[in-house]
Point group: C2
Chain length 190, copies 2
DNA sequence: CGAAAATACGAGCGACCGCTCGTAAAAGTC
DNA sequence: GACTTTTACGAGCGGTCGCTCGTATTTTCG
């Protein structure tokens, strides 16, 4: 019951790897499950031994990416000094790992952009917690709105950042940080 | 050669009307041309008498929407006083008609979000011209980047704005303006 | 009126997609 | 080695989609 399951888990990982690449190339809808199977070097039948349907593949992949992202963000969010950091520094702390993650995982944004919200919710909650820690007096609705907007801004610009070649990419990351500090730095009751 | 073409143009308009509604409901990819034809009250064959393929429908619709948008924005962009207006006022001048347009035309965002860039380019160019007028000393690359980012921010938040019920919508529009003024108000060489 | 052009119809073709199922080889268990 | 379980295969089913085409109707024009 051990050695077999090891092979099975390996297969699952191969499927998710293939799906990530395929989603990045063709998007979620236009990626066929047969293509994922082919890229993973297996038959459609084998793929469907591990996943009940296409959506389950995307869900599992989202979960895996969210775990990786959480790990990459651990230092940015866990630090208690986060409360007193200057805003630009805090933004960099959050944005830099995020950019690194998306550059390393092109196709992750597809799981955000073309499906429900899978990756968004987890990140938004953490940003909300962060904002609440920095501005405890802010009404809860405002916190939720601001964090949602901030995450949407990041998501909107991330596509261009990942696609850009390196000299331009840095400039775009800079713009993203500028947008976030500009947005979050303005008092909410404008 | 006159009366016939009149009917033909009417049919084309009916197709575009139907396509707009259908795109808004199901998105571009998942909208079938047969569904567009059915909603327009005609057969698939008739639809394809006026458009060579599905993409051409989306293109024509994008063009029509862009024209309407340009008209709605005329007052915001043509005014020469635009150069000396305070930034928040200028943002409102641009954003408010844009919100109105998207609320009146749900589905317009689909033509942006799920296809190349059709509606974006036109708007981005005009925003770039506006920024250039306000900051003539800014390098051209910076202007282009800033306007692209600004348009992407608007596009990112517009979906939520259109979807939100009225009390929340106003708050989200306010957030959008806050984000834009915060972003554009910060000096570019941060 | 009669010919030509424009408009209209809708069954259905070919291609693709998500997914199934009958079958069979490996691997684990006793 | 016999039996069960897990893994693997791939042809193909049922369905949808973009689009075509043969045919019929309506309008324009001389």
């Amino acid at each position: 019951m051990v050695k077999r399951q090891a092979r099975g888990r390996q297969r699952i990982a191969e499927i998710l790897d293939a799906a990530l690449v395929q989603f990045a190339e063709t998007g979620y809808d236009k990626t066929s499950t047969n293509a994922i199977a082919a890229r993973a070097g297996m038959s459609p039948g084998s793929l469907y031994q591990y996943f009940p349907n296409k959506e389950a593949i995307a869900d599992a992949l989202s979960q895996r990416l969210l775990d990786e992202l959480r790990e990459a963000h651990a230092t940015a969010f866990d630090d208690t000094a986060v409360t007193e950091l200057p805003l630009p520094d805090l933004v960099s702390r959050v944005v830099d790992p995020l950019v690194f993650f998306h550059v390393a995982n092109p196709g992750a944004k597809v799981l955000i952009g073309e499906r429900g919200q899978p990756l968004h919710t987890g990140v938004t909650d953490r940003v909300a917690a962060l904002l609440r820690a920095r501005s405890p007096e802010l009404p809860d609705d405002d916190v939720r709105r601001s964090s949602t907007v901030a995450v949407q801004i990041v998501a909107a610009l991330m596509g261009g950042i990942v696609a850009a070649p390196e000299p331009e990419r840095a400039a775009l990351v800079h713009e993203l940080k500028r947008a976030l500090t500009g947005y979050l730095g303005t008092p909410a009751g404008l």
